[in-house]
């Protein structure tokens, strides 16, 4: 059963860092309520089962579905169909995303109802769909990613000048929430599929990477536009209490399963139904391949429900308590340090990160290693959380002070490093700010902000996602720079024959 062992190893690698850290903190600096610790440990156990099952399911179902749909679109040989189809799927996977619904509700609450949450969901989904279309257009017309993103971010900058600072943070948060655990592999497979089929070797290619980053910007633009069109009052500081599941452990689990079960069902169903329709009309695969997709979908569903249940049970409260207590020490450097640790341990637990890094390794025949990209992300997110904690502790430091220079550096780097790294950098940004960030890093910041006077929970916590989505852009491109510098001296090659002669 070598397969099970390797899956178990992967699962432990994802969850142990978080589990050990929280336990260490519990026994030393920040003792937590026993009930919370118990739920946390139980949640961790659930995740050890859920994550590998989910990832396996994705490999068997969602990724092949995305590939096949990209094949169908490209073979239709009609540009308008490919663009429309891509946009349509971008819309579909976003509109069902539970994280987006939660964010919309939160925004509605803090604007005292002025912000229409349903409109937000529709606009963001439309934004993502539109940008996926543009992204596909970029691939087909061989427009270089760095130029494309420069234009997009200039537009965002222009809109940003007219946007309330609080809305800026919300807009970036939306971008983090739209690329969820199911939409990531799907959009990735779609983009990679289209790119691989329409490859032309003369130009340096990204292989379809960058699409997730492009899709995220659709959300940013959509929220900003809605913000400009909606007359909102000042943002009030009270968030609706996040769904903290109280009660006995069993009651918590049952509630969580019921809720996550329905949410996940509505995320997967649209994709599956559309796929089955396309399959029956156009593809007509042999039966055993269909069976593989259905078995995979079952794994995806079960795995994801278990995963979500695991994190909803104990992670949020544990993280929030830790944040509050660390802030209570009154030492900013400690908050920054623990924050950075949180950044490092969260990334391995994020399923989308595994999906993206594995796809990168697959496409580059192992030249760009999954583990290496993941470690780069860990460092990048550590910096993001550290900077956020700094922001919380220092009243004068605002989000855009950090965000703007960061983005400028990222865009400059995009003209220096190899194209493929530009692509995976933008993708990493979209992927790093995912489910785990909302459930683990955000509550930590909110807990800290609760304690520190002068820290606004809403403003300060919303900005974290923005930073988590930004630092990978710089970190991954720096990795690309290292690759570029290290592969240059390869031009000198000693005659191989002579070497062999000497050895014999």
């Amino acid at each position: 059963m070598g397969l099970l062992v390797s899956k178990l190893e992967e699962a432990l690698f994802s969850i142990l860092p978080i589990t050990i850290t929280i336990l260490i903190l519990h026994f030393t600096l920040t003792p937590l309520d026993t009930e919370i610790v118990a739920k946390f440990i139980f949640g961790a156990l659930l995740m050890i089962i859920g994550i590998p099952l989910f990832l396996l399911g994705i490999d068997l179902s969602i990724t092949p579905i995305g590939e096949q749909i990209s094949e169908v679109l490209v073979k239709s040989n009609k540009l308008w169909l490919i663009l429309l189809g891509g946009g349509f799927f971008g819309f579909i996977v976003t509109v069902a995303e539970p994280d987006l619904h939660i964010l919309a509700d939160q925004v509605k609450a803090i604007t005292s109802g002025h912000f229409n949450s349903n409109l937000m969901i529709l606009l963001v989904s439309a934004g993502v769909g539109a940008l996926v279309s543009f992204g596909i257009f970029r691939i087909l017309k061989n427009i270089r990613l760095n130029r494309f993103m420069t234009v997009v971010y200039l537009i965002i900058l222009a809109l940003g000048i007219f946007t309330q600072p609080d809305f800026l943070a919300i807009a970036f948060d939306a971008s983090g929430n739209t690329t969820g655990a199911v939409s990531v592999p799907f959009i990735l497979a779609l983009a990679v599929g289209i790119s691989v089929m329409t490859r032309s070797n003369e130009i340096e290619e990204n292989d379809g990477f960058g699409m997730l980053g492009i899709a995220s910007t659709g959300a940013i633009v959509a929220v900003m536009i809605q913000g400009l069109l909606t007359a909102t009052g000042p943002i009030s500081g009270s968030l609706p209490t996040a769904k903290i599941v109280t009660g006995s452990v069993f009651h918590s689990i049952w509630t969580a399963i019921a809720e996550n079960g329905t949410d996940t069902f509505f995320v997967l169903m649209p994709i599956l139904i559309i796929y089955v329709v396309i399959e029956l009309i156009w593809i007509r695969q042999p039966l055993y391949k269909l069976k593989r997709i259905f078995v995979g979908s079952a794994y995806t569903y079960i795995g994801f429900v278990i995963f979500l249940t695991g994190i909803n049970i104990g992670f949020l409260q544990a993280s929030r308590q830790v944040g509050y207590q660390v802030a209570a020490f009154g030492k900013p450097w400690l908050l920054v340090l623990i924050g950075m640790v949180f950044g490092v341990i969260t990334i391995p637990a994020e399923p989308s990160v595994h999906v993206l890094t594995r796809q990168i390794e697959d496409n580059t025949a192992g030249s760009i290693k999954a583990l290496r990209v993941m470690l780069t992300l860990c460092l990048g997110v550590a910096a993001a959380v550290g900077l956020s904690m700094l922001r919380i502790s220092i009243p004068g430091l605002q989000l855009w002070h950090i965000l703007l220079p960061g983005m400028v550096i990222a865009i400059i780097l995009s003209y220096i490093v190899p194209d493929i790294f530009v692509g995976i950098a933008y993708d990493s940004g979209g992927v790093a700010a995912g489910t785990m960030t909302s459930v683990f890093i955000l509550p930590f910041a909110q807990g800290a902000a609760e304690f520190i006077p002068g820290a606004d929970i809403v403003r300060d916590s919303f900005g974290i996602i923005a930073l988590v989505a930004m630092t990978p852009l710089v970190a991954v491109q720096l990795l690309g720079l290292i690759y570029k510098l290290k592969t240059r001296p390869l031009l000198s090659e000693v005659s191989e024959m002579d070497e062999y002669m000497e050895e014999i």
């Binding site: 070598g2 397969l3 396996l56 068997l60 490209v74 073979k75 040989n77 540009l79 087909l140 691989v196 089929m197 329409t198 490859r199 032309s200 069976k291 593989r292 078995v295 995979g296 697959d362 025949a365 192992g366 290693k369 090659e493 000693v494 005659s495 191989e496 024959m497 070497e499 062999y500 050895e503 014999i504």
Partner: protein
């Protein structure tokens, strides 16, 4: 232009190693250690012969295939080192085999091919079957082989060179392919090749290619129920 001939007695072989995914870089490191300058690694996937696993779709195994050019006479020594270091004597650790090269050319260093001097033998104990078929057909190749009693076979994603048959949106598109590599005793290889030719209609144009390559030495192959082939490649 006359080609050069390698000095008498000098020959090269292509060492092919198939391991589970994750070990490829270590093997590339091994290549460096033994002084080989030509080593390449790519991904493939194999199947486990187990019906329960097949039902729950857990029977695919990710593989890495490494090609290393080694001097002909160091073959045995290098295979021994490989076996020791990576435990190929235990089942399911990997397999390795050598095929003699007829010629070699270092682009930009040699002006023409250096051909092997002596003639190449025509009798081999083991043969490698290598097929290239359209994407999606790789599994059929595996299925046909399994029904014939051969378990093993690694599928590799590839693409064909663009031809005017594939035009999409005024772009010439490269068709996607799958390559299949199988290693077995020469007699079985002959039979399996004929069977594959029939079932896949290889004689018709554009259905695929099958080549038989002679194999010098192998390690890591285990017999399966007395039939020729491996328990798991």
């Amino acid at each position: 232009m006359a080609s050069h001939i390698l000095p008498n007695g000098i020959s090269y072989s292509l060492l092919t190693i198939i391991v589970n995914r994750g070990k490829g870089s270590k093997i590339l490191g091994f290549a460096r250690e033994i002084g080989a300058r030509d080593a390449s690694c790519f991904f493939g996937k194999g199947t486990i012969n187990n019906n329960v696993l097949k039902m729950i779709e857990l029977n695919e195994v990710a593989k890495e295939i490494i090609l290393i050019v080694v001097p002909g006479e160091s073959e045995t020594k290098i295979l021994e080192q490989l076996k020791e270091k990576f435990h190929f004597d235990r089942p399911n650790q990997g397999i390795a085999f050598t095929m003699p090269l007829a010629g070699i050319l270092k682009i930009k260093q040699d002006t023409s091919i250096k051909w092997k001097n002596s003639s190449l033998s025509n009798q081999w104990d083991y043969t490698a079957l290598f097929l290239v078929v359209d994407k999606g057909k790789g599994e059929s190749v595996i299925q046909i082989s399994q029904e014939a009693g051969y378990y093993g076979g690694t599928i590799i994603k590839a693409r064909g060179s663009a031809s005017n048959l594939n035009i999409v949106l005024n772009m010439i598109v490269e068709p996607e392919k799958e390559a299949v590599l199988m290693l077995m005793k020469s007699k079985s290889a002959h039979q399996l090749a004929m069977l594959l030719r029939e079932e896949l209609h290889l004689e018709q144009p554009n259905t695929g290619i099958l080549v038989k390559l002679g194999v010098n030495k192998t390690i890591g192959l285990f017999q399966d129920d007395g039939k020729d082939g491996e328990a798991e490649q």
